[in-house]
Symmetry: C2
Subunit: 255 residues, 2 copies
């Protein structure tokens, strides 16, 4: 028996998110089905991030155990031949039997994309949230400074979440603009439910002038979800990578 | 009666190209249908470039004549409300009655995109051709020098084409790389059928070393389609813009 880690990229447009659900097509469900076919034994993967419906990934991480003799680093080729073209394994390798994608120490990086121009652009519609209102980049950058660090981020957690411990560390949060595409990139020890999308929605309100950068201090201290901005739409979000302490992943060089 | 010009952006993935065909969904067909509904009179647009199935556009151009009282520059808003989200009018304005998108002097700019990395990336699959083979950028740039200028480009014209006059002028042809995305950008007075895709396919053969940059001279002089490279897939191609002599189009500022 060996444990294989997969780095999984997908276009989330046509999936009901990562996690297996009855009567819905999910990334996890497709991986389980194709791995079970490929290896001839029942496989259930364990995923790192249960991304929502419509959210994309360049490098989500999953593991599974198998008796297969296919070498870990060849697994990606065998599996990609069976997967639909909107899911592609970027990397596969054998890892220690006690490696767990959710319980091992990691840093996750997400990117939120906003297309900021006068008219919508069809070729970007599935991978960026569209905003015609001009966004003040300097104000958004200033607001980021209040978010970086260890804080109780309850204000950025969806009301429906059951999580009790809401302290998290944001290592970096950067806003950049390339032509009319704004990218919000955030790296942290972990994120609360919808936290990145709520931060994106709040930064957009700063960008339009509805909130001031300094307001972020009071919003975070309030621990009140209703004071933060709206949850930005799923299509603008992508999970860029997950880096694990002690695991030297080749794919890290790629981004 | 007035003539309205539209600058049309679309994601070509789900269309059988621009031109109206029986029993197929086309960009032109959808524009005719939605304009006829909107204006209450039968409308048939005249398009500048009849892009193939799967090819995208940021700024194709079309005109139509109407009795409508909707001002030219407001037409885009009224029409976008009725269009599917994979077609978006970027600009609309009234033009002279004798303006014709195919017969007036213009410069067309196309971009061909190649994703060049070890594994496919689902979020780029509809907008870039994937190549795992490393491409030599310097060789491709050198090959471009032989293509720029006025030449008989018969070697880059699909065998099925009926066109007799095959001399065209390529004003500029540039290859650039941003991370693992290679962009081939070409501007010319007009292009033969599949010319940009055949140039892209030929440049890729130079990139892999199968052809040398200097070979381009003999290929062009031969006027023999079989000596050039294969026609690169449609999904990598996008029509970026069409600039008309004497028409100061706002959208030109955008790219």
């Amino acid at each position: 028996m060996k444990r294989i880690m997969l780095v999984v990229a997908y276009d989330g447009t046509n999936y009901c998110g990562w996690q297996v659900q009855p009567n819905a097509t999910t990334i996890e469900g497709v991986l389980n089905e194709k791995l079970t076919q490929l290896l001839g034994e029942p496989i259930e993967v364990i995923g790192a991030s249960r991304t929502d419906s419509g959210v994309h990934a360049l490098g989500n991480v999953a593991v599974f155990d198998t008796e297969s003799r296919i070498p870990g680093d060849k697994m990606k080729y065998a599996l990609n031949q069976r997967l639909p073209e909107d899911i592609r394994i970027q990397e596969s390798k054998e890892v220690d039997a006690d490696f767990h994608p959710r319980y091992c120490d990691s840093q996750k990086t997400y990117e939120y994309r906003i297309l900021n121009r006068s008219m919508e652009l069809p070729t970007e519609r599935l991978y960026a949230h569209y905003s015609y209102r001009a966004l003040d980049m300097e104000a958004m950058k200033k607001a980021c400074e209040y978010i970086v660090g260890e804080h109780d981020f309850k204000c950025f957690c969806s009301a429906g979440s059951q999580v009790k411990e809401t302290v998290r560390t944001v290592y970096s949060l950067k806003v950049s603009k390339d032509d009319d595409l704004i990218k919000i990139r955030i790296t942290g020890s972990g994120f609360l439910y919808n936290m990145v999308r709520i931060i994106a929605g709040t930064l957009m309100e700063v960008g339009t002038g509805r909130k001031k950068p300094e307001d972020l201090k009071a919003i975070i201290e309030s621990m009140d979800r209703s004071l933060a901005g709206p949850t930005a739409p799923a299509r603008g979000l992508r999970l860029v990578r997950i880096a694990y302490k002690g695991y030297d992943l080749e794919y890290l060089e790629k981004f």
